[in-house]
């Protein structure tokens, strides 16, 4: 153990040293595991911020074994998550993620999910090279947050809109990404941000795949329900979706969901109630019954909205009939509520008991409208900058250049005969890499 400690302390400097250290530690993994009782004192002598790589590795060996003093373990983990050096962690990212998972499971066993959130969130921040990166710890954090019923934590992280993935530096795997999208969508559904949820669900379903994942299967069910609430119909998957995924989904989808979609399209709330009751057990099993209830409410609102497309003025009694509501008071209350949620623009006249749906009187020259436009423009500009950066990254990558040169003169890509041989090509690429 002495020897290992010495190695860690001496080799926590530049990248080469770190690579060597990691190899050394992996080779001596058995040795460390057998000296488990000495790990705690070793950790005590290390500085988590300077010797992060070694600290992570030792803690990982400890976490994989069994340990009695949970409080001590959590203190050690807390030190790592709070003060660890992100760059060093990127060399041992899979070990770091395993430690985070052990933490998650520990709190899960105690049924005290809320207590884990702060720690896991710190873990995310330390693993992320920057806020735009998705990490496997996101999925762990989201899982515990949802179980703790603390939705504002995942929503805050989601609103940062991380889009970058680094499989090597953060140990991202496909399942981590799918879970990120799935749990993220559930968080958005909880705070009723349905279009944001739809985006995430769609991302999960269009992830390239060779087979249908259980996660995507669940995503699809929620996608159907949330689409009905948000759009009134279910969009078909975009072309990018793997054909295997879409075909398998069609085969294994439970009739409950397709019957619901069919019932919704009839615009009859009675039909919808019938289907919901018929398949209540299936929906309950999937934890989707709450969503189904919201689907039914959305049909009532959609029916009221339907009348606005046809009539300029309508009596409360007529709306009650056409939307199958129970009383005129209910119609009035629902309309006021829809106006407050900006879903409808109408004006009720109580003396005549009518509602007039004047054309949307938005003049588009208000302060709010200008601010909205500015927000959209700012978003578009950020997206443009991101896309350009990604484009540049691709164009200057060696793989792309190699490919382009191979396709060669037919495109008039390279003027002269300078790049006849492979050796020249390799040299050119090496030069451009050095210049970068």
């Amino acid at each position: 153990m002495e020897q290992i400690l010495n190695q860690i302390v001496s080799k926590s400097g530049n990248d080469n040293d770190l690579k060597l250290l990691r190899q050394f530690l992996s080779k001596n993994q058995q040795l460390i595991a057998s000296a488990a009782s000495q790990i705690d004192s070793a950790l005590g002598m290390l500085d988590a911020s300077q010797h992060t790589l070694g600290y992570t590795f030792l803690l990982w060996v400890k976490a994989r074994g069994s340990f009695k003093d949970e409080a001590l373990f959590l203190r050690q983990v807390s030190l790592l998550f709070a003060t660890g050096n992100t760059h060093q962690i990127s060399f041992v990212s899979e070990h770091y993620v395993t430690i985070a998972d052990v933490v998650r499971k520990l709190y899960h066993k105690r049924k005290d999910h809320l207590a884990s959130l702060r720690l896991l969130r710190t873990a995310v921040r330390t693993l992320q090279p920057d806020r735009a990166h998705i990490t496997p710890v996101h999925a762990l954090l989201f899982q515990n947050a949802l179980l703790a019923r603390c939705y504002h934590v995942p929503v805050a992280l989601l609103d940062e809109m991380p889009t970058d993935i680094d499989p090597h530096g953060t140990n991202m795997a496909v399942t981590d990404y799918l879970l990120f999208c799935y749990y993220g969508a559930i968080a958005y559904i909880g705070v009723k941000r349905f279009s944001a949820a739809l985006q995430l669900l769609q991302l999960a379903m269009t992830t390239p795949a060779m087979a249908l994942s259980a996660i995507v299967y669940e995503c699809h069910k929620k996608f159907v329900l949330v689409s009905l609430i948000a759009d009134g119909k279910v969009r078909s998957l975009p072309k990018q979706a793997s054909t295997i995924v879409s075909r398998t989904l069609k085969m294994v989808a439970h009739p409950a969901y397709s019957s619901l979609v069919t019932a919704y399209s009839t615009q009859s709330t009675d039909e919808l109630h019938k289907v919901a009751e018929k398949y209540a057990e299936e929906f309950q099993k999937d934890h989707n019954f709450g969503l189904v209830k919201q689907v039914i409410q959305s049909l009532y609102e959609r029916n009221i909205l339907g009348t606005t497309k046809v009539y300029l003025t309508l009596s409360l009694a007529d709306i009650k009939e056409s939307a199958s509501l129970t009383s005129e008071k209910e119609v009035e209350d629902r309309i006021v509520r829809m106006i407050s949620e900006d879903k409808l623009s109408a004006s009720i006249n109580q003396t005549q008991s009518t509602v007039s749906f004047e054309a949307d009187d938005e003049t588009y020259n208000t302060v709010e409208m200008v601010q909205q436009l500015e927000r959209h423009l700012a978003n578009a500009m950020t997206m443009h900058a991101k896309a350009t950066a990604l484009d540049e990254q691709l164009i200057t990558s060696p793989a792309y250049i190699r490919r382009k040169l191979q396709e060669g003169d037919a495109r008039g890509w390279v003027a002269g005969a300078d790049f006849d041989t492979d050796a020249d090509t390799e040299r050119a690429i090496a030069e451009s890499m050095a210049r970068q």
């Binding site: 959130l117 309309i335 302060v367 709010e368 443009h384």
Partner: protein, 207 residues
Amino acid sequence: MSLEERRAQLQRKVEALTGERKFQELLSACREFELEAAAAGAAASAANGPLYDVQLATSLIVNDLENARFLWKRMPADAKRNAETASLWNIGKALWAHKIADVYIALGGYQWSPPIQPLISALADRFRAGVLKLLSRSYSVISKNDCASYLGLPVGEAEALVVEQEKWEVDGDMFKPQPPPPTVLDTSGMQQLQSLSKYAAFLEQQQ
């Protein structure tokens, strides 16, 4: 700093931020403390536990009803038994179900403690102002009684409020709401020019 000291620090912040009307900031501070207290295993011990009342009240003020509902769901049973907390949640329930008359009843339904009272006043003011705006958008003609119950005021006071402040017309037994005046665009010189030039440059970009 110990958990007790952090809690005392937060309580001092409550007064300051309430006075400055910075409710979103106060809500964030309460939420962070809830996570801290949970991590420290302070559990439901009221002495150094989260400030549930303040957190719930500020959630309602910023109209974050979904998170208010989840806060209530994850509160330990002891905290829910507290009369003030339960009364606060009555307001939340009425807001969530959009039962406007019930909101006023719930607002007045308890003798609020000193740190909570200013939050309740702020909530009541914002709520009533919001309802007034909603009424002028939703109704061309509304009966005096309905209007009064929407505003949680006796008919006489409601009439005084809408006629003098909002300039609504009166027609026998009914009010005729006027649409609210549009807010004036505030173009603040340099900043506006800067953002405009950014947009122009972006849009003029050649591929």
